[in-house]
Amino acid sequence: MISVTGVLLSAVALWEIYKFVWTSLGWIKPIRPDDVVMPHTWDMVLELFQPVRRGGSLLILDLSTRSFWTLREALVGFVIGALVGFGLGVLFVRSSMAERAFMPYVVASQTVPILAIAPMVVVWGGRLSIPHWMSVSIIAAYLTFFPVAINTLRGLRSPDPNALELMRSYAAKPSDVLWKLQVPSALPYIFTALKVSATASIVGALIGELPAGFQSGLGRALLTFSQQFAVRSAKLYATVIICAMVGILFVAVVTLIEHRVIKETRELEGQA
């Protein structure tokens, strides 16, 4: 908590010092320090307690509701992506033929920009009458599954060869080798991927909302407020801050679960 506060305060300080120094000296490069391009940090915070539009609700309330929607899309996408990623990792470790056959597609899938994929998912989702937010979740899952698949595969391959021979000496079933040896060994790798995926799923949800025409999430707010940037830039910055906080919250929850699940291994790392 102390470190989070520290990081936050340093960021505010850097921003304000830059603004003050550049304004005093009349510098405009690399970024013009005026109140539109670089509003004061306190103005961003104050903006949260202004109505979104005349007669509307406060920005912070509006963004809270939107966060809920975006977080739900991201969470569902995260779970789908994590399960698909884990499944692919298990499949690949069990069958090198499957790995050779499908791994190129898995890698290629990540070189296709999400902006190209998203509209297709929305169109197909529409044909299948999937709710809009679900299409957004699938886009989030698309960004989530890859790190999980790669790290699961690596983690499942991490046990010592002697440990595998030991299992062989017990004539262990493949499912026992998987659940009693390979998956526990892979947990630290999988959680590393889940932390990357937690943020990626938020990004996927934010981007996915745009082609999906989903009106109620943070992604839509980002788009709307960026169009109003010249008038009230603080509103966009405030929204960006909320998006970042949603992402941090998600990663924090995953980290908490990680600590619970792999306590012993962490103690081991602490000792080494």
């Binding site: 010592d160 002697n162 299992m167 062989r168 004539a171």
Partner: protein
Amino acid sequence: MSSLIVDARGVGKIFGSGEARVEALKGIDLSVDSGEFISLIGPSGCGKSTLLRLIADLATPTSGSLSVNAKTPHEARVDQDYGIVFQKATLLDWRTVTKNVELPLEIMDLDDTSTAGEMLDLVQLGEFADHYPWQLSGGMQQRVAIARALVFKPSLLLMDEPFGALDEMTRELMQQEVLRIWRETGTTIIFVTHSIPEAVFLSSRVVVMSRRPGRIAGVIETDLSYPRDEDTRESPAYYTKVTEVREALRRLEH
């Protein structure tokens, strides 16, 4: 029923083919009786570990016939006739000592886990039951590995340089321990080592192996009475045997 635990006739093992072809073992004839303590000794690359792995069905011979408990090595492995201990203890970090020892029981669907406690007492680690492997010294970890190998009461214990990574003092203590366990359980032990004193101190017979291709160069009966203790290490008969094994190994160099 035969009292032969291991019966090898003309066993050979070739790795690879063409340019990369390596003949690891050639014409191995070896019989191990029930209750024996056999050491396999030889220079590195003599195939002593390979021979152990063939018995364990972790590799398959390319020629000859090999039986374990009057079965094929594969059948013996599936029937869980042997326990194995490697140079590395290979304990699972996320399991306590007890849970590590219970691992084979879980996998073999043997619900009675009371033997785990018995085995921990056997290796004198009863009070460390709830510790994690990384809280134990190297010697203690290896004791856990021995308890784990014996928990399902196999008739044969295979040990592949189990004390190779331990310091000399711990090593001698562990040798005493393994002799005590051997006496108390009556398990047949095949022990791979490159230490001459270790082989002589422990075994009833020392099998000396030569290099490239790995062959049995000689079998030396140690003729030292059990139980053996620290006095054994200082007895003239022990020195004589150590010298005999050393000379057998030296003859291989010519």
